[in-house]
């Protein structure tokens, strides 16, 4: 869910959207937002699964330090999605999903 109006930040001015796909599913998300945030806005909270126990992980630090939100972005693994903005036609995959 996006926060469209806010007592301090005001009404959202940036309503430009871009098209991405997440695990093959097309999504329209707010331009310029971080990948992890764009996914959260669409109810996607799992960014990767762990290697050993295949447990789901999501954003934890939100500022590029903990690396728990890494995903496969345009074919490149281990991209920190909390500090990487979405771009038109980005192909995003849950890391180690299967």
């Amino acid at each position: 869910m996006y926060i469209t109006d806010h007592p301090i930040l005001g009404a959202e001015e940036n309503t430009e959207m871009v098209n991405i796909t997440v695990d093959g599913v097309p999504l329209r998300v707010r331009k310029g937002s971080m990948i992890a945030a764009a996914l959260l806005a669409n109810g996607i909270k799992v960014n990767r699964y762990t290697l050993k126990h295949h447990e789901p992980r999501g954003v934890f630090c939100g500022i590029g330090q903990c690396t728990d939100c890494v995903m496969i972005v345009n074919g490149q693994p281990n991209v920190r999605t909390c500090i990487t903005p979405v771009e038109e036609n980005m192909v995003i995959m849950t890391q180690n999903k299967d």
């Binding site: 007592p7 301090i8 126990h53 330090q65 690396t67 728990d68 890494v70 281990n78």
Partner: protein
């Protein structure tokens, strides 16, 4: 009222009066006046400049509590939105024969409108009476801190300090009786410490028992801290576990070795691949 400000989170009327935060009853009877509910010496003084009548004094050092010169205060309310702690209120006990007004900062949406019936709440957020909005001031210099004024029965004027938010249902507190998890005091050996490499408390305890007495030592045995985040997330926990196990203070556990790259980077970039 039980507990102190440090336990309740809000000051009691007694605490406020003891700290000379309440204007005199005489002053209240003369018309609107500021009540500055600021009780801790923190470095802050915007209220002093906000008052154009010079009724608020902080001075030096800036951790002084703001002192209200009640005879100079006109109850104009300019200080309310200036307080970074949202701790200033305007109380008018002379509003009518039966009602007082309270003005308070209200940084929530939706904003109420003049004439709207609302539930007035006390410092603890409990509804104490009904009220009516008499004014909503949200001018530019408030910088998104609207000041709402409500009329309430006079007898609640020392208690009411805000209104119930309009977009939120009253809190349901029934969870208190329905815990669905029972605490197991057994050692949580399978608790994850290193999120990247999925190293558990048990793994780390075992490493410490085997002689690891540094973060690096634990890392070598368990891989804790060897993942993508380079130990940024778990090293402090590992350090504390070693300190606890060895009965050492934190300064006796050195940092783990810092090595490049400190952030994940594809090998192709390091190799200068033009296509990345």
């Amino acid at each position: 009222m039980k507990g102190t400000i440090l336990e309740n989170g809000y000051p009691s009327i007694e605490e406020l009066k003891n700290a000379h935060r309440f204007p005199s009853e005489e002053r209240f009877q003369k018309g609107p006046v500021a009540v500055i509910e600021c009780l801790q010496p923190i470095p802050c003084n915007p209220c002093e400049n906000a008052c154009r009548f010079g009724a608020i004094l902080v001075g030096e050092p800036i951790i002084n509590l703001p002192e209200l010169q009640e005879e100079k205060c006109t109850g104009c309310g300019m200080c309310v939105a200036s307080c970074s702690g949202l701790a200033i209120f305007i109380v008018d006990k002379t509003y009518s024969a039966t009602e007082a007004t309270i003005s308070f900062p209200y940084e929530y949406l939706p904003l109420p409108v003049k004439g709207q019936a609302i539930k007035a709440v006390n410092r603890a957020g409990e509804v104490v009476c009904d009220g009516t909005v008499t004014r909503v001031m949200n001018v530019k210099q408030n910088d998104h801190t609207p000041v709402v004024t409500i009329a309430i029965p006079k007898e609640f004027s020392d208690d009411v300090r805000s209104m119930q938010r309009l977009n939120v249902a009253p809190a349901e507190k029934d969870h208190e009786c329905c815990a669905d998890y029972t605490y197991d005091p057994a050692d949580p050996d399978d608790l994850i410490v290193c999120r990247c490499e999925e190293v558990t408390v048990g793994d780390i305890r075992k490493a410490i028992a085997e002689g690891a007495d540094t973060i690096t030592g634990v890392k070598r045995r368990t891989r804790a801290g060897m993942g993508l985040c380079q130990g940024r997330t778990c090293s402090k926990t590992v350090s504390k576990m070693i300190a606890d196990a060895k009965h050492l203070s934190g300064d006796k556990i050195p940092l783990d070795t810092a090595r490049p790259p400190v952030k994940p980077v594809p090998f192709s970039v390091l190799a200068g691949d033009e296509d990345i």
